[in-house]
């Protein structure tokens, strides 16, 4: 599992690559720490290369969303494949995030 964070057009662009399973979750949470500290930018996750997500991954995304919302910012999930989007649908997370 690989993550990269870039700043572009005043937004934080985060690429998620690989399988975000529970084993990877702790590392990912560590890597995404800057997002927890972000107070002034909208966040966009590029999910094009995200192959799998477990509930531990969902938890990370929910934590980031709650943080961002508290500062009045949005979290957008981009280019997500249908299998993963299905998980978002099942859990109702599809109503919480913006999708592109």
């Amino acid at each position: 599992m690989k993550t990269t964070i870039k700043e572009n057009d005043g937004k934080l662009l985060v690429a998620l690559v690989g399988e975000l399973d529970t084993a990877a979750a702790a590392g990912v949470e560590q890597e995404l720490q800057p997002l927890y500290e972000n107070e002034d930018k909208d966040i966009v996750f590029d999910c094009e290369k995200l192959e799998y997500i477990a509930s531990s991954g969902l938890r990370i995304l929910l934590s980031i969303l709650k943080k961002a919302k508290s500062h009045g910012h949005t979290v957008t999930l981009k280019s997500m494949n249908d299998d993963i989007k299905n998980v978002f649908k099942m859990t109702g997370f599809i109503n919480l995030f913006n999708f592109e």
Binding site: D21, T22, A23, Y52, A54, V87, N95
Partner: protein, 733 residues
């Protein structure tokens, strides 16, 4: 009183039809009584005419008798008088004697043909007569003179000219005693056969009045005697109460213009008139006497007196009738009032009935289906309430490959017990959705039922949770009838009775467990089965239940229950069902599944090793031909289940193992996640609310939710000190 009559009036206004009936009956009674009255009156009228006829005839005979007597006396003395002619001086003695002995004769005398005796007066009329003041003294004298020319008098010339006896018209006496007299005269012939003189008897008529009015059928009636020409001969005495009417009566009889009618016999005539005295109706009946003199006899009678009895009867009947109608009205009033009350009660009853009907429907809709077959279990339930709604209930549902079933009987019957039962039943469903232990379910239901149970209702309840894969049965009994276990033989299923629900708030319900052998049927029932009574109050009894069940050891639960119900019905023979009858039969007969593939992976309770698990699962799923989408879902489910165990089964810092068994058949893929950590049933975790907002959503709880979403069946069992979570994905789903 007036309020009551107003009530009455308004009541009759609002019940027009029946009021009409009452009025109709009143009119009918009135018509009947009027017809009866008229009929009776006619009969009485006929009888009156008859009576009047008889009375007139009788009185006429009285008069006639006297006249006949008079005629007889004079006629019989005619010869003697004839003999006397030659000795004119002896005539006086003879005449005097005749007058003397006949009290009603006021005088007897002879009126000679003028100049009969040369030596006597030309008009010679020797006459004896009673003294005016002393009737017993008979005087005599020669009355004939130029002033009193008797030849000009009626009695003389009629008798002479006709040479026959003659009755003179009554006249006022001018010789002797005062009063009305009439004269009977016969011609007396001398030896040569020539008329010598006329012999006459003056018959006093004043006594007739008394005789005729002596006695009448009706007290105020009076009689009149009139001449042929209608002149009065005899009248009632002036002291008679109806004296004033006699003139009137005479006038009517003489006035040919007055309408009159003949009586039925045709002999008498009747005139109806108004009394001069009081204007009341009166009748005068009269007839002519036969023979000479041709007098008329009349009797006056008064309507009031004649029909007095009829009138008084009529009044009484009328009063009785009024009373009867009033009574009828009152009865109708009470009847309608009663009817109104009955109708109200009936309406109320219908309302309750319809509500009960709805309640019954709700209750029966709360029941699950009567038949169910799933995952190796066949189940049948029946509920026959004694009344519309009952206090019995059975229920079952399958959750996570476990059959939850229950049977209960609330104390009493009807609505109250149905309500209490509904509460218990709903709680069983609600609590059973997240709790798999019967004893804990029972405990929670008991707490709820005890709360505010002021009517001290209680419920006997049995809860069973049958793990379908293993046949492990956990159960808890709250004072309910001991179930039966049917497997060739019929035996009592050993249960601790505990206490019924609702009795003691803090009672600890002890649960039990056993494993059902394949092919056994558990029969649950309420006391409506064993205590079903026939007309002689004999109970069906447990022995009969066992007897019937024995014959159905291998039968389907539905047939077992049908036969039990049929046996009960045959036993009670139509006696009224005294209690709800509820039956529930659960037959456990799992099917063997053949697995083509069986592999096992064991990992440590370290999330780092999840990747191994994922690879293992993905590999198995792919090999057994599941689609990539399905593989991804299965992988997610197993990961979540395993992570759950890794995180919670073992105390923090303690190393433990997690075993993942994979098995695949033609129809399904099954994973078992096994650990030897603390007992933990992830299946009892509450569902996640996916409709909440980001702020409201909890971070945890998603794992088991995803497992449920991805897999078709999940099942948790604690087996031999291990937690076994079985996750099944069916191939065709």
């Amino acid at each position: 009183m007036s309020r009551m009559s107003n009530q009455f009036i308004s009541f009759f206004k609002s019940h027009g039809k029946l009021s009409l009936v009452v009025i109709g009956v009143a009119l009918l009674l009135e018509v009947i009584s009027a017809v009866q009255y008229l009929y009776t009156r006619n009969i009485m009228r006929d009888e009156l005419e008859d009576l009047m006829g008889k009375e007139i005839t009788m009185k006429a005979m009285l008069v006639k008798g006297m006249l006949n007597y008079t005629e007889g006396v004079l006629n019989s003395h005619a010869d003697a008088i004839c003999d006397d002619l030659v000795q004119p001086d002896s005539i006086y003695d003879h005449l005097q004697w005749l007058t003397h002995v006949n009290k009603h004769f006021s005088g007897v005398g002879l009126a000679f043909v003028p100049g009969y005796y040369k030596d006597r007066d030309y008009l010679y009329e020797p006459w004896t007569y009673r003294d005016e003041n002393m009737p017993d003294t008979v005087l005599y004298g020669q009355l004939g003179s130029a002033e009193h020319d008797y030849t000009k008098l009626d009695f003389y010339y009629q008798t002479v000219s006709k040479d026959a006896p003659y009755w003179a018209e009554p006249y006022l006496n001018y010789r002797g005693a005062k009063g009305l007299v009439t004269t009977y005269a016969i011609p007396i012939h001398d030896s040569k056969g020539k008329v010598a003189c006329v012999a006459g008897v003056d018959l006093s008529l004043s006594w007739l009045s008394d005789t005729l009015n002596q006695r009448h059928s009706h007290e105020s009636s009076f009689s009149l005697l009139l001449t042929e020409n209608g002149e009065l001969i005899s009248q009632p005495s002036s002291s008679h109460p109806k004296y004033a009417d006699f003139d009137n009566a005479i006038m009517l009889i003489n006035d040919s213009t007055v309408s009159r009618h003949k009586t039925k016999s045709g002999h008498f005539t009747c005139i109806e008139f108004k009394s001069e005295i009081d204007g009341s109706t009166a009748y005068v009946y009269y007839a002519f006497m036969k023979g000479r003199p041709h007098w008329q006899l009349a009797i006056v009678c008064y309507d009031k007196e004649v029909f007095d009895a009829l009138y008084s009867m009529r009044h009484r009947v009328f009063l009785l009738m009024l009373l009867g109608v009033a009574l009828l009205g009152y009865i109708v009033y009470r009847f309608l009032k009663g009817n109104k009350q009955l109708a109200d009660i009936e309406m109320e009853r219908q309302r309750i009935d319809s509500e009960l009907h709805v309640a019954k429907r709700i209750q029966s809709e709360m029941l699950p289906g009567e038949e169910m077959t799933q995952g190796g279990v066949t189940l049948s339930g029946r509920l026959i309430p004694a009344r519309e709604v009952g206090g019995d209930q059975y229920d079952y549902f399958v959750r996570d490959d476990k059959l939850f079933f229950a049977i209960g009987d609330a104390s009493g019957k009807g609505v109250p017990s149905a309500l209490v039962m509904s509460v218990s039943h709903s709680l069983f469903r609600a609590i059973g959705a997240r709790e798999s232990h019967p004893a804990r379910i029972m405990h929670l239901i008991n707490e709820a039922v005890c709360q505010g149970n002021e009517s001290n209702m209680f419920v006997t309840f049995f809860i069973g949770v049958l793990d379908l894969p293993t046949g492990k049965l956990r159960y808890c009994n709250a004072g309910h009838d001991t179930p039966l276990l049917v497997k060739g033989e019929v035996e009592k299923f050993p249960v601790k009775s505990n206490l019924p629900l609702g009795v003691m708030n803090d009672w600890f319900f002890e649960g039990e467990e056993t494993t059902l052998e394949p092919g056994t049927t558990l029969l649950l029932y309420t006391d409506g089965l064993t205590e079903a009574m026939d007309a002689q109050h004999r109970q069906f009894g447990l022995e009969r239940v066992c007897e019937v069940s024995k014959n159905h050891a291998d039968a389907e639960p539905s047939r077992l229950l049908s036969d039990l119900i049929a046996s009960v019905r045959a036993f009670v023979k139509g006696a009224e069902q005294s209690d709800d009858l509820t039956l529930l039969a659960v037959r456990y007969s799992p099917q063997e599944v053949h697995f083509e593939l069986q592999e096992t992976l064991t990992v440590q309770n370290d999330v780092k090793q999840v990747t191994l698990v994922n690879e293992f699962v993905k590999n198995v799923a792919q090999r057994t031909g599941y689609s990539p989408e399905q593989v991804s879902g299965i992988q997610l489910a197993i990961e979540e289940a395993v992570v759950n165990v890794m995180n919670y089964a073992y105390p923090e810092g303690e190393t433990g193992e997690v075993e993942i068994q994979a098995a695949a058949s033609a129809d399904l893929l099954r994973f078992k996640v096994i650990d030897s950590g603390m007992p933990f049933a992830p299946t009892d975790a509450p569902d996640v609310d996916t409709s909440l907002s980001a702020e409201e959503r909890q971070i945890g709880g998603l794992g088991i939710f995803l497992v449920r979403q991805m897999m078709d069946v999940i099942n948790y069992e604690r087996i031999d000190g291990k937690n076994v979570l079985t996750l099944t994905k069916k191939r065709n789903c």
